[in-house]
Structure formats: C-alpha cells, structure tokens
C-alpha cells in the first residue's frame, strides 16, 4: 500500500498552497476555497499541537473515534468558532455564533456526539465543527496506526471506518491505480478500478465516468445501480493535484451529478 505515507506539517502547507492556487484557477469555487484555506491553516496549527502528543495504542476500527482526545477539541472550539464567524459563510457563521452561546456542557456534548457516531461526516454544521477539530488528531493517529488493508475492495476506511471522500488515481506503470481517500482521517487505501465503492457493482456498463473539459484531472465516477458517485482525481493527468482540495474546487461537478440524479458517497468538509 502506497497509502498512509507519514503525514507531515508540510503536507498541510501543500494543501493550503493548492487551495490558493485552485481558487485562482476556478473562480466559481473561490469563496469556498478561501474559507477552506482558513480552515486548513487552523487545522495545521492543531496538527502541530497534537503531533507532539503521545498516542494511545492501536485499537480496533470501531474504537478509533474513542481514541481521539475530546478535551483538546473542546479547548480549541472557541478559536474555531471565532474563525468561522470571521471568515465563514453566513449560515455557518450564524451557527458558530449560536454554538458560542451554548453552555460549555452543550458544547462538549456536540463534539462528544460526533465521536459516538460511526459515520458522522454529514453536512450538518455541528459535524463540521467536530470534523475540523478532530481531523488533525485523526490523521495523526491514522498514520501512527498504519493499518494495512489486504482487501482492495473495502468500501470504508480500514483505519477509522469512515466513508471515502474522493478517489485518487496514482501512476502504476502506464495506468492509474485507484486509492480512496478517507473523509475523516485522510488515509488512502487501495481500491480496485471498475468497482463501485458503495454497492460493489462491477458491470462496467453501469459504472460511468463523467468528465468535463474544464477539469482535466477530476471526474465523476458514478454507479447506475446504486446512484451514488464519488469524484476521482487523476494524478496521472495532474501530478500536482491535492485530492481533497481538488475535490472541493470542482464543486460544479457535484451540482451536475446531483442534478443528474446521483448522490455523493460522503459530503466534504465544506458541506457538499
């Protein structure tokens, strides 16, 4: 598995730079990417904090979220709320303000409930705050656990059991080997081509790929059987892409997909 290469703070810089670059390239998503960049910068500092913490011993998949440190997240919540109020979109900023007014017990509960959910990456704004706060920890933990998947058809993350955010094709010989990127801990795991990550469909006639000239390296990989889709970032076309960022920058493809009756496997950090 080429996945789960050790995450370093420089990788956060790479994501931040890419978000800036993408915002220039795709004005339609500039507002979203600008906010995403702020979030990344915030997460980068969080990551630097957790990176020096000692980690609990590796546990099972189910226990992954339980290993995350709630206190750190609670402690960082006010800074995030303030950031969102300053730089976030209206609705989210309003939400941040409301949470800010909640009791500390309520705040803690919001974050705790995220840890209890098995797949709490929904577009709800409460999940947004929790996700932003726990993700750096999750990434750190995931790298440390270095869970290897022998199964190239696992539809959820072998480390934290969350759904994939985006697929990435990395060069393998003349072709592109597919990996899925976890929507929570950002682990990449090998996932075979011509296979639906949601329903397991293998009939190539039902697995369409939709691409637009505007986005050379990103396309919609949709399944006609379950009607779910996942975007894929083809690094054999653009080796500079950062899958999570490019996924966000190509939001108009999501609109196209939704309008054509497909549903996304997992909403991204920006809520779509």
């Amino acid at each position: 598995m080429a996945a789960a290469s050790a995450m370093k703070t420089t990788d956060w810089d790479k994501r931040i730079h890419r978000a800036v670059e993408l915002a220039e390239r795709y004005p339609s998503a500039a507002e979203i990417l600008a906010f995403y960049r702020h979030i990344l910068e915030f997460q980068k500092t969080l990551f630097a904090d957790v990176a020096c913490l000692s980690l609990p011993a590796a546990g099972g998949k189910a226990a992954f979220r339980e290993q995350l440190d709630l206190d750190i997240a609670v402690q960082q919540l006010p800074a995030l709320l303030s950031l969102v109020q300053r730089t976030g979109p209206a609705k989210l900023a309003q939400e941040a303000a409301e949470i800010g007014r909640a009791s500390s017990e309520q705040k803690r509960e919001i974050l705790r409930s995220f840890l209890l959910s098995t797949d709490g990456n929904g577009p709800e704004s409460t999940h947004f705050f929790a996700r932003v706060l726990f993700q750096p920890q999750a990434e750190h933990l995931a790298v440390a656990q270095n869970a290897q998947s022998v199964d190239s058809s696992a539809s959820v993350c072998p480390v934290c059991a969350a759904r994939p955010q985006v697929a990435v094709l990395r060069p393998e010989g003349d072709g592109g080997k597919r990996f899925l990127v976890c929507s929570f801990c950002s682990t990449e795991w090998e996932f075979r081509r011509i296979l639906c990550p949601v329903c397991g469909e293998v009939d190539h006639q039902k697995l369409s790929r939709y691409s637009a000239e505007d986005f050379a390296a990103v396309r919609v990989e949709a399944c006609d059987t379950c009607k779910y889709y996942l975007k894929s970032v083809d690094m054999t076309v653009d080796g500079l892409a950062v899958p999570l960022g490019d996924e966000i920058a190509t939001a108009s493809l999501d609109i196209w997909a939704v309008e054509h009756g497909f549903s996304k496997v997992s909403p991204n950090l920006m809520g779509f």
């Binding site: 004005p27 339609s28 998503a29 500039a30 507002e31 979203i32 906010f35 976030g88 979109p89 209206a90 609705k91 989210l92 900023a93 309003q94 929904g122 577009p123 704004s125 947004f128 190239s152 060069p171 393998e172 010989g173 003349d174 072709g175 592109g176 080997k177 597919r178 075979r192 081509r193 011509i194 949601v198 190539h204 006639q205 697995l207 369409s208 790929r209 939709y210 691409s211 637009a212 000239e213 505007d214 009607k227 779910y228 939001a251 108009s252 493809l253 999501d254 609109i255 196209w256 939704v258 309008e259 549903s263 996304k264 909403p267 920006m270 809520g271 779509f272």
Partner: protein, 193 residues
C-alpha cells in the same frame, strides 16, 4: 446508505435559494455546472490479445448507446490492478488502440467465386446459406459411418476447421461442439504451429 440520507445529501449541495447548506453562494457554481460539457466514458477490463502473458488492459470508451452515439475507444491503459503487468505494456500493447480502430479492418462479407480475380460483396444471409450448403454437401458426400473393419467411426475427413488461439474458451468450445457434432476430425489451432 438509506434513502433518507440519500435525499438529505441530494439537498446538501444547493438549495432553491442558490446557497449551499453552509451558506456559500452557489450561483457561480450553478452557472458553471450548466455550461459544463460532460462526456460519458466507460472503462472496460480486457486482456491484451497478443502473447500469453495476458496483460490486463482497461479500454476507455466514449459514447452513450442510449443516445445513439457510436462508441469510440479513446485510450487503452495498462491495468494497474493486474498482478502480472501492473499497468505496464510492451510496444505492441501500447499501440493496441491502433488495432481496435484500424482503417485496414474488413467491414463486410465478401466472396471470391471460382475463376474470379476479385472479391464480390455478399450479404450475410447469402454467405451463411452458401457455407451451410457447401458444408452439408461435402459432409454428405464423404461421411464415413464405419471403417473397413466395420467399426463405427462416424467421421467426416473432408472438412477442416482451424483457429481459436486468439479467441475465447467459449468460442473454442462452440467450435468443438459444432465441428465434432458434424463428425469433423480435422480440428486444429495454433497449438502446434
């Protein structure tokens, strides 16, 4: 995923008011989405038809049968998942697209009549009728039910069938079934040559 979640995600992107659930302005995105020229392609797993390493290939085809667009192969990729070739191809495999779409392909049935110095077009029906007629005539004229010792042989020695080394197992079985059933004993492929 259950239906309610699906419905929820569907609305997750852009509401009627032109903002996303988080309140981003979705109008530029909607505008871009409506101008996207989307092409649909499929990826088909296949096996290189040349040597018996059997490199996996993924054939990228564009075109939508439903929309009456003739499918076109736009790319042949070494299958990165294939354990043997791992995405690589030799110079023959790399140029497979030229084999799939090649202007030298024969595209219609033809017949060369006795004594003729050229090909004539022939319809499929006519060709198949004539071939069947030839086969029956030849078989009936030469079929041996017993040999000189009176032993049952049920064979036809006057017709031969050759081929199959670059066709599928299933085709080969149909060849065995049809030819052996006609008593044809001269059944050969590239195994010896």
């Amino acid at each position: 995923m259950d239906v309610s979640r699906r419905a929820f995600f569907k609305t997750g992107m852009a509401g009627a008011v032109g903002i996303t659930v988080f309140g981003f302005d979705a109008r530029p995105l909607l505008a871009q989405a409506s101008s996207l020229k989307i092409s649909r392609s499929t990826e088909t797993r296949s096996t290189c038809p040349y040597c018996a390493v059997s490199c996996g290939v993924i054939i990228h085809t564009i075109g939508d049968k439903a929309k009456n667009v003739t499918p076109q192969v736009i790319h042949v990729e070494g299958d990165p998942d294939h354990p043997i070739n791992r995405g690589t191809l030799c110079p023959k495999g790399s140029s497979l697209q030229q084999d799939i779409q090649n202007e030298r392909r024969i595209l219609k049935p033809q017949v060369r009549r006795p004594g003729s110095d050229h090909w004539d077009d022939i319809s499929w029906n006519q060709a198949i009728d004539e071939i069947a007629r030839w086969t029956k005539k030849t078989r009936d004229a030469t079929f041996m039910e017993t040999d000189a010792k009176g032993q049952t042989v049920n064979r036809c020695e006057s017709i031969a069938f050759t081929g199959g080394c670059t066709d599928t197992n299933e085709f080969n079985y149909l060849a065995v079934k049809t030819m052996r059933s006609m008593g044809i004993v001269r059944l050969e492929n590239q195994a010896r040559v």
